[in-house]
Amino acid sequence: MTTVAEATLAACPECDELHIRRPLRAGQRAQCRQCGATLYREPRRRSDHMLAVVTAALVVFALANTFPILVLQARGVTNEATLLGSVAALWTEGQPLAAALVFVTAWLFPLFDLLALFLILLAVRMDRRPSFFAPLLRTLQALRPWGMIEVLMLGVLVSLIKLSRMADVVPGVALWAFIALTALLAVILSYDLRVLWRSEPRPGGTP
């Protein structure tokens, strides 16, 4: 039989050393005394603050994908490019593998991350644990390293400099949206998802 010793024990994920759990204040983290890895942390922000940040990020994500990132002008010809437009161009140019990779890491997984986190935080907020809660949170944790918006952001800036040599470049609305999204994601990624496993619905919330 298996039981959780969560309330009293913590095992280091990197060296397996056992520790006695101690309560932390907000913003603090517990370190393994053998290898120095982070054992657990107490987030600075509450889950309903995070719900607000995630909602904002979803709106900004929509903006970032609706408007052009950059507008290019050369000898009277104008080109606008969105992220998905670039993916489609890669695909039609005969680079389906590269297109799929960019689509998944810069669009699909970040969007899934935001939507899944939104649902999970909403469930926590409403004091419910629907049946999808555990599988969705597990999937979210597994896919998180594959969302690479912050790398894409740096890529946008590098292409901006590169392109400014070839043509007149006008930053599009989506460029500012991507900058805002990167900032919001930095807040979201600093929130340790594992505290969401710890939170139990208050008694009387749901049967």
Partner: protein, 207 residues
């Protein structure tokens, strides 16, 4: 004391400590999050080596094949990754050249070398300096994703520079190969179980 020697296992998903006495090496199901909990990551070293070798093999075409093909009125030029770095260096953006060189050459090479070192030492019987090696592992997991930068730059350039007769940029087969290198080396890093290093580490309090 290690969790394993106490008959306990750490769930890597939700970090609860699960009781696994009397089940041998068989997986137990985490009572809190439902994930399968193994004593150590399954076939960690074999998987790490497999992904690592795949990444190393793909690194050859990633550097030899062009990542980008630029067609202008003056002709067609095909750039490999190093060619792109040289272009930035000679065209007055040495800081961008250094950035691209760091994420496309230094990080992947160091990462593959570091993972091979970790997997080699984790496979040895004794004499492992787990303190130093586990620090290497932590850095390796953190920086690998930034190697995707060049793939994003190529994708964005290809999507945006479409001025029919004046200039077009197309992605080359090197971009997909390079993206695959990043994916395989990220899989190698996540398959590696740093606890194997500590299992081989000489404990002063070994009783």
């Amino acid at each position: 004391m290690k969790a394993l020697s106490a008959g306990l296992r750490a769930c890597l998903v939700c970090r609860s400590v699960c009781d696994a006495t009397g089940v041998g090496a068989a997986p137990v199901r985490c009572p809190r999050c439902g994930a399968a909990v193994h004593p150590r990551k399954v076939e960690s070293l074999a998987r790490t080596w497999a992904y690592l070798i795949a990444a190393a093999i793909l690194y050859v075409p990633a550097n030899l094949l062009p990542v980008m093909q630029t067609t202008t009125l003056f002709g067609t030029s095909r750039d490999t990754i190093i060619g792109g770095v040289a272009y930035f260096w000679s065209s007055g953006s040495p800081e961008l050249a250094v950035l691209i060189f760091a994420v496309s050459v230094v990080i992947p090479m160091t990462k593959m070398g570091a993972l091979a070192t970790l997997a080699y030492w984790a496979g040895r019987a004794t004499g492992v300096d787990a303190h130093r090696l586990s620090r290497i592992h932590r850095v390796v997991e953190l920086v690998g994703r930034w190697s995707m930068l060049d793939v994003f730059v190529v994708a964005l350039m290809a999507g945006m520079v479409q001025f029919k007769s004046l200039a077009t940029v197309e992605a080359g087969p090197g971009a997909a190969a390079f993206g695959a290198v990043v994916v395989f080396s990220m899989l190698a890093a996540s398959s590696f179980d740093p606890r194997l290093l500590w299992d081989k580490h000489g404990h002063p309090d070994h009783a």
